[in-house]
């Protein structure tokens, strides 16, 4: 018999104890208690993290939903999985600075320059080796990121890191970005993931990753504009050289960063800026560049446009590097920014169609707290809208969410993460691989195409085979009903009668228990039920 969600809820409703924690705030707020406590736990695990592992739902219910959410909001308070820490320790590049990475893993271009400086002949084999080696840091970073999504206890932190990396997107295959990424994720994104928005924005603005990706490192005051300083080392200046070793000649305005700063990082596209604002901001950020000897931020007064700027109708009275800082202040505190960021967070945590009232409340918290991301996220994930029936299972998983939730649900210990990274590429969501500054879309339509569903189905079988070989397979096979075990693990809180029947008929004639188990896993991972969270 197929039961609808409604009857399931009614069945459970009578058994419910008074809701505690976050679910209770929604009753206090006068809203209907729309989810059972079990569903509320599932919702929290699917939205504040990459899906439940076996036993997680019960754990969250025991702990209390509010207490779990509160702990997740303070990742440093959660004891990290020691197994994960051992794993991460093996990735030696994770702790290195951009400067160290620059020396240790030079791109082929830099390696060639080095050889030429040393006066030796070009060693092409060594150059090829250097080119390959320069990808090691981003490979380790990718594996670490996936390992964290799968195994970190600090799940909300991982979700926020993913959110901000996507919001402040950079593309690993653009030039030297891959050598800046490690520091970018660690010291910019992760450090401020639940912190203050202005700090995050300022940190991004000075990050070599963003300066390189959006070309600002090459932007200089236009010909004829007054400059804030003289080029250093004038005496040694040659044609085509700015006088600073390791600096490429920068000779004009590039407005790429200025535009995306307002359109994508802060105000949003309807946020009320004009082309004049874009040009003014671009001028203000001239001189914000990269010291290519060290791979670190550098302000160069000699490239900085010294003309007074007006941005969004306000005169910017600071000079030099403070000019950019003042603009970042202005943008971070602008009401359009509060709204834009809030709406994006609500879309991520609640629904593709963000409920207007919730966006309003989140934006007002953003303004009142001066951009405290933790406060805004707390408001969103404890709101009645978050625990509403409309929001329950309303999101379609992105490829990363789908893969991670598969591995977590099945509780698989993936020793080599590289095949999964390849799978993400095939599913069109490679880590650090979004080329446009918009990052990846966060709505169902973008991921729900026929082709994508087929690719997921194909991968489901591979995951099922690989995943059921290990201890999880043994555990399930030794249980009384392996198929039921699979459904419980992968789809807790979800009506699975239909799926169970389908699995039975597909597994008909398959005598080997392992084969039946693989069929159950493969079909469940490929099912529409499992595409949702």
């Amino acid at each position: 018999m197929r039961r609808t969600m409604k009857t399931t809820v009614a069945l459970f409703a009578g058994l419910l104890q008074p809701l505690s924690g976050a679910a209770a705030t929604l009753q206090e707020a006068g809203g209907p208690g729309e989810l059972t406590q079990r569903q509320a736990a599932v919702q929290v695990l699917n939205r504040l993290g990459y899906g439940p592992r076996p036993g997680d739902v019960e754990r969250v219910m025991r702990m209390g939903i509010a207490a779990y959410v509160e702990a997740q909001l303070y990742p440093e308070s959660i004891r990290e999985n020691p197994e994960l820490e051992r794993r991460l320790a093996e990735y030696t590049t994770l702790a290195m600075s951009s400067t160290e990475l620059f020396l240790e893993y030079p791109t082929a271009q830099r390696a060639r320059a080095q050889m030429q400086r040393q006066g030796g002949a070009l060693d092409t084999a060594a150059l090829r080796m250097a080119a390959r080696r320069s990808f090691v840091p981003v490979q380790e970073l990718s594996q670490a990121r996936l390992a964290r999504a799968l195994y970190s206890e600090r799940q909300l932190e991982e979700v926020m890191v993913d959110f901000w990396l996507n919001h402040f997107n950079v593309y690993s295959r653009k030039g030297a970005v891959r050598l800046f990424l490690t520091e970018y994720e660690r010291d910019v994104i992760r450090r401020h993931a639940l912190g203050n928005f202005r700090d995050l924005l300022g940190s991004v603005a000075r990050s070599p990753a963003m300066l390189f990706y959006l070309d600002n490192w090459l932007s200089a005051a236009p010909e004829g504009a007054p400059r804030a300083g003289e080029p250093p080392n004038r005496g040694r200046r040659r044609a085509g050289d700015n006088g600073v070793p390791g600096q490429r000649r920068a000779a004009g305005l590039n407005e790429n960063y200025a535009r995306e700063l307002m359109e994508l990082h802060t105000l949003g596209v309807g946020g009320g800026y004009t082309q004049d604002d874009v040009e003014a901001v671009a001028r203000a950020f001239t001189g914000w560049t990269i010291d290519l000897r060290t791979g670190s931020f550098l302000f160069r007064p000699d490239l900085h446009d010294a003309t007074t700027q007006e941005v969004l109708g306000q005169e910017i009275d600071s000079r030099g590097i403070s000019e950019g800082e003042q603009i970042l202040d202005l943008l971070a505190r602008h009401p359009s920014t509060a709204r834009f960021i809030s709406e994006k967070l609500v879309r991520r945590f609640v629904s593709d169609d963000p409920p207007e009232a919730l966006v309003e409340r989140a934006a007002s918290t953003f303004r009142a707290s001066d951009g405290d991301v933790r406060e805004v996220v707390r408001l969103i994930v404890t709101s009645p809208e978050f625990f509403s029936r409309d929001a329950y299972r309303a999101k379609v998983k992105t490829p990363l969410e789908w893969l991670a939730s598969s591995a977590r649900g099945l509780d698989i210990e993936v020793r080599d993460l590289r095949p999964l990274l390849g799978a993400l590429r095939q599913l069109d969501q490679p880590l650090y691989g979004a080329e446009p500054p918009t990052g990846y879309p966060d709505v169902a339509e973008a991921w729900a195409s026929s082709g994508a569903l087929l690719t997921r189905a194909e991968m489901s079988q591979r995951l099922a085979r690989a995943g059921m070989r290990g201890p999880t397979g043994h555990r399930l096979l030794s249980g009384s009903d392996p198929v039921e075990g699979v459904l419980e693990r992968l789809l807790p809180g979800v009506e699975t009668d239909r799926l169970g029947t389908l699995i039975e008929s597909a597994a008909e004639g398959q005598d080997a228990p392992r084969k039946r188990l693989e069929t159950a896993v493969s079909l469940t991972l490929a099912s529409p039920e499992f595409q949702r969270r």
Partner: protein, 411 residues
């Protein structure tokens, strides 16, 4: 009807695709005389520099504004642009398509684009794909709406492969109420789900009750069946495509067309145009991308041969780039751009559109090529002239299509 042979040489013309398909899709069978028209859209994502693609070499200001990246005039000793009409010339990397122009099969439109002032890639692409500049509320793509307006109204007459995009994700252009498919790779698509097509179909049947995922899931199953019954991969290419994602996309579109599986519209992306830094002139970054682009289109036309009588290719890009080169020997986001139309029905060998000039006072906002033709007029003319769509208003929200403004692009 004019018949013009697309093939370059007589030898190639002997190559025949008269293989009898093992399965003939039933409406095709019902109207054997009717050859299906196909519209192929190519999106140059990232904003191609139209002024270096179709070079206005007669404009002295072009060379003044682009000291490092201008393409040399026709007749120059090295890297000369390929003269088309004494005023405009193709980038030398586009040599493979010059021949199509000379034979009257390729038309160019310059100073064309979106009237929206946005210089955001994201927005401009969205506006072009929805054909609704500055109307964010429009969610579906113009090509999807065109399918809805298409004169073939019998729903049973539509193939599941009526609309295909050669990509993993469906582009906005094809999103909407009409079924459309994203196929990133024909071979793996046809292999289908490993557990067997039947169980996949059961997963996504009506009982799944999933309003978002059910449709795409069911379409996938039906499309695989159709392809298996009439395998397009039997049709080997008779021309050499660039070995690139774009080349492969076009090759597979050609196979689908040859296999007669009911494709009406096809879509391919080609990227790498956002040349803010070191764009290059006759050689370099942009030249390499244009070689892929032009080589792909030329191979597609040669490969399809006579079938190009029924095919129209339109190329588009979200906006042009600044008329002046920037400080990094690149170009920033601009305004109007250039489009190509290629096909047997095109009145080619001509460059259409009013040229606004490149003198400082003629530039849009003092920096970009000004717009004289709305891209929607080109889309509308193509839909009307090629697909025979008469009701154009529903395809272009809040836009009055004026047939009097049509250039007569389609012969």
């Amino acid at each position: 009807m004019r018949r013009r042979v697309f093939l370059k040489s007589g030898a190639l013309a002997l190559v025949s695709f008269g293989l009898t398909p093992g399965f003939v899709w039933r409406t095709v069978q019902a109207e054997p005389a009717r050859r299906r028209k196909v519209l192929v859209c190519i999106f140059q994502r990232g904003a191609v520099d139209g002024l270096n693609m179709l070079v206005p070499f007669a404009e002295p200001s072009y060379y003044r504004m682009r000291p490092r990246i201008a393409v040399p005039q026709p007749g120059a000793r090295e890297g000369a642009a390929l003269d088309l009409d004494g005023r405009f010339a193709l980038h030398p990397a586009l040599a493979p398509i010059k021949d199509l122009y000379e034979r009257g099969l390729l038309a160019a439109v310059h100073a064309v684009g979106s009237p929206s002032a946005t210089r955001s890639h994201f927005d401009a692409q969205y506006f072009m794909e929805t054909a609704a500049p500055d109307l964010k509320s429009v969610r579906d793509g113009w090509l999807n709406r065109a399918l809805a307006a298409s004169s073939i109204s019998d729903p049973e007459g539509h193939s599941y492969l009526r609309a295909v995009a050669m990509s993993e994700r469906l582009p906005v252009t094809l999103k909407g109420d009409e079924a459309a498919l994203a196929i990133s790779n024909l071979e793996s698509f046809m292999r289908g789900p490993p557990g067997g097509l039947e169980s996949f179909e059961a997963l996504y049947d009506e009982d799944s009750g999933d309003a978002v995922l059910g449709g795409p899931g069911r379409d996938a199953g039906a499309a695989i069946k159709l392809l298996r019954e009439n395998d397009p991969r039997r049709y080997e290419a008779s021309a050499e495509y660039p070995r690139s994602p774009f080349g492969t996309s076009l090759l597979e579109i050609a196979q689908l067309i040859k296999a007669d599986v009911g494709v009406e519209v096809a879509f391919a992306d080609v990227g790498g145009w956002d040349t803010h830094v070191n764009q290059g002139g006759a050689q370099g970054q942009l030249a390499a991308r244009l070689r892929d682009f032009g080589g792909g289109i030329a191979a597609f036309c040669a490969d399809l041969g006579d079938r190009m009588e029924d095919v129209l290719v339109i190329t588009m890009s979200e906006f042009g780039r600044t008329a002046r080169e920037n400080g990094n020997a690149g170009t920033d986001h601009g305004h109007a751009n250039c489009m190509f139309l290629i096909g047997g029905g095109v009145r080619g060998g001509t460059i259409y559109g009013e040229w606004p000039g490149l003198e400082p006072e003629q530039l849009y906002e003092g920096r970009d090529l000004a717009l004289t033709t709305d891209f929607r007029d080109i889309f509308a003319e193509a839909l009307s002239g090629h697909l025979g769509i008469e009701k154009l208003d529903p395809v272009f929200p809040r836009y009055q299509v004026n047939r009097a403004k049509f250039f007569g692009l389609m012969g």
